[in-house]
């Protein structure tokens, strides 16, 4: 699966949270970012593989099962690489494309992520709204799984106050 968006949208963390939950469920996982001269506002993406077996190549170059695209360049770049029957989660607050033409090939779920995030207080939790769409559609794991990982990863003094807001974002996304 591929998570992609603007730098600063929390794309890499989103992929990391998904990979961590899968690891805790005993799966083999790899997470690999598009590293480079990236900065906030630039593009960022990461590829996550979850498998029951030892993972060969960590690269996801084609046949994407799940694409989580938080901006327009991500849709343009990765949508053609999603395999037939794959799942595409799109941040429809920013991406205004018409997906009706490809709905037969892939499942598209449009999520008003940035607007929902702004509504509850911080546009930076849009990634968590997307994550809600992810778990709702795939059923791969639960809100409790995510909350546990968030507290482990961000439970430090500086960031733990932000966790309830993230959880709220997921709950709103699940509605």
């Amino acid at each position: 699966m591929v998570f992609s968006g603007f730098g600063g949208q929390g794309i890499l963390v989103l992929g990391e949270v998904v990979a961590t939950i899968a690891m805790k469920k005993g799966k083999h996982v790899t997470w690999i970012p598009s590293y480079g001269a990236e900065m906030r506002g630039g593009t960022a993406n990461c590829a996550v593989i979850i498998s029951d077996r030892v993972i060969g190549s960590p690269m996801v170059q084609s046949d994407i099962d799940i694409l989580c695209a938080m901006n327009k360049p991500s849709v343009d770049k990765f949508l053609p690489k999603v395999k037939d029957g794959g799942l595409v989660l799109v941040n429809s607050s920013i991406v205004k494309d018409d997906f009706s033409a490809i709905c037969e090939k892939v499942n598209v779920l449009e999520i008003d992520a940035t607007n929902i995030a702004v509504e509850i207080g911080n546009p930076r939790v849009a990634n968590m709204v997307m994550l809600a769409g992810f778990i709702k559609k795939t059923g791969l794991f639960t809100l409790e799984n995510i909350t546990e990982v968030l507290y482990e990863r961000f439970g430090g003094a500086r960031s733990k106050d932000l966790i309830p807001l993230n959880v709220k974002a997921i709950e709103r996304g699940l509605e």
Binding site: T30, I32, P58
Partner: protein
């Protein structure tokens, strides 16, 4: 509950080094290895070590020389052009028989090149860019768990043989995360009678240097050092070999590209083409013997590298004319995908070129044809 954590390759190397007893880290920033010094700067001083961001790579490697002479476990890391700058220091430390761990998270070149993954540092790592007769043990992990395990092993090898040791990986492995369990092993009991740690007249003073102006003395030192290298060649070679009886072709690759090859092998087996993987884990000493003991079914050897073909020379030395050696490579930061390797294998086995020639843009395919033509080398 599993003790595994999800960590980046670079961070794992730094954490494993601290747990292995690394007492001093000297480095200078360069992408894509920056997480190593970053992690060291945040953690090593709290755990009885020191971190110095040197003014240059040359300074960092020479700080390693000084610190290693005290007998402490010492480490530096860099990426390709930075490692090129360290070559003089590596030669000096080899000449002074100093143990040190060096990590090269390589990028593409030559020159400043780019920050994307590549394997064009094979020659620099295995042949060395410094002067004089010396060798450097080089470990090439393909998994993040292996990054961790090889850090402990490398420190032991460095101390056991009193030699600089290198871990060579590409930017992909440095930047990616995988579940890992850091499994410390107790350090070997190495002879430290040579160290420079403050003499209190209880023994004759120790001197650590690489200067030796008398020909017969220096020759003797080199001969002794090469006995050590011969012992490393005999006992420390590591390789993963999945070639089984019935396989028609052995594909040789190291590091993350070996994982890409393993996907290609799986793809090929679905259509009845049998291939096996040879993955050198030590690049020096190179597992030459593997190529003389392959099953009789093997008819070809293919080398897949993210370079213009460097390890292919070692493979040819190992094969020694027994099989045709083919080559497939990408460079400049481009990474082959499994289908490119599978197509190359089909082309070799079936003797035909795929309908839609991969790789794209045509350039590497010209090269591959050239390499393929040679037949048995």
């Amino acid at each position: 509950m599993s003790k595994k954590v999800l960590m980046k390759g670079n961070e794992v190397i730094a954490e494993a080094a601290i747990q292995a007893g690394c007492k001093a880290f000297f480095g200078y920033p360069i992408t894509p290895q920056n997480e190593i010094p970053e992690y060291m700067s945040a953690h090593i001083e709290r755990r009885n070590g020191i971190f110095v961001q040197a003014e240059s790579e040359v300074a960092a490697i020479n700080m390693c020389y000084g610190a290693a002479a005290t007998g402490a476990r010492v480490m530096t890391s860099s990426s390709s052009p930075g490692m090129a700058l360290k070559q003089e220091g590596i030669s000096y430390m080899s000449g002074a028989d100093l143990p040190v761990l060096m990590v090269n998270v390589s990028r593409c070149g030559p020159g400043l090149g780019g920050i994307l993954p590549a394997q064009g540092d094979y020659f620099m790592a295995t042949r060395g860019g410094g002067n004089g007769d010396y060798r450097t043990p080089v470990f090439a992990p393909a998994y993040i768990q292996e990054c961790s395990d090889l850090v402990f092993h490398s420190f032991d090898i460095a101390e056991k043989y009193r030699t600089p040791v290198m871990i060579l990986l590409d930017g992909m492995l440095g930047q990616m995360m995988e579940p890992v369990e850091i499994r410390p092993t107790p350090p070997i009991e190495a002879d430290k009678s040579w160290v420079v740690d403050g003499n209190t007249d209880k023994r004759p003073p120790n001197i650590v240097n690489s200067l030796s102006l008398l020909g017969d003395v220096l020759e003797q030192q080199n001969l002794i050092r090469f006995e050590k290298y011969a012992e490393i060649e005999r006992t420390e070679c590591m390789v993963e070999n999945t070639v089984k009886d019935g396989d028609e072709i052995a594909v040789v690759a190291y590091g993350v590209p070996a994982r890409i090859v393993s996907n290609a092998i799986e793809e090929l087996s679905a259509e009845g083409i049998r291939a096996g993987l040879i993955r050198p884990i030590t690049l020096w000493p190179f597992p030459y013997d593997v190529f003389q003991n392959l099953p009789a079914s093997v008819k070809h050897v293919l080398v897949a590298e993210l370079s213009m073909g460097q390890m292919v020379e070692d493979v040819k030395l190992g094969v020694n004319g027994k099989y045709p050696v083919h080559f497939y490579g990408r460079c400049g930061g481009m990474v082959f995908d499994p289908s490119e390797i599978a197509d190359k294998v089909r082309e070799i086995i079936k003797g035909h070129t795929p309908a839609e020639p991969v790789p794209r843009n045509g350039k590497p395919s010209d090269r591959c044809t050239k390499h393929t033509k040679g037949g048995a080398q």
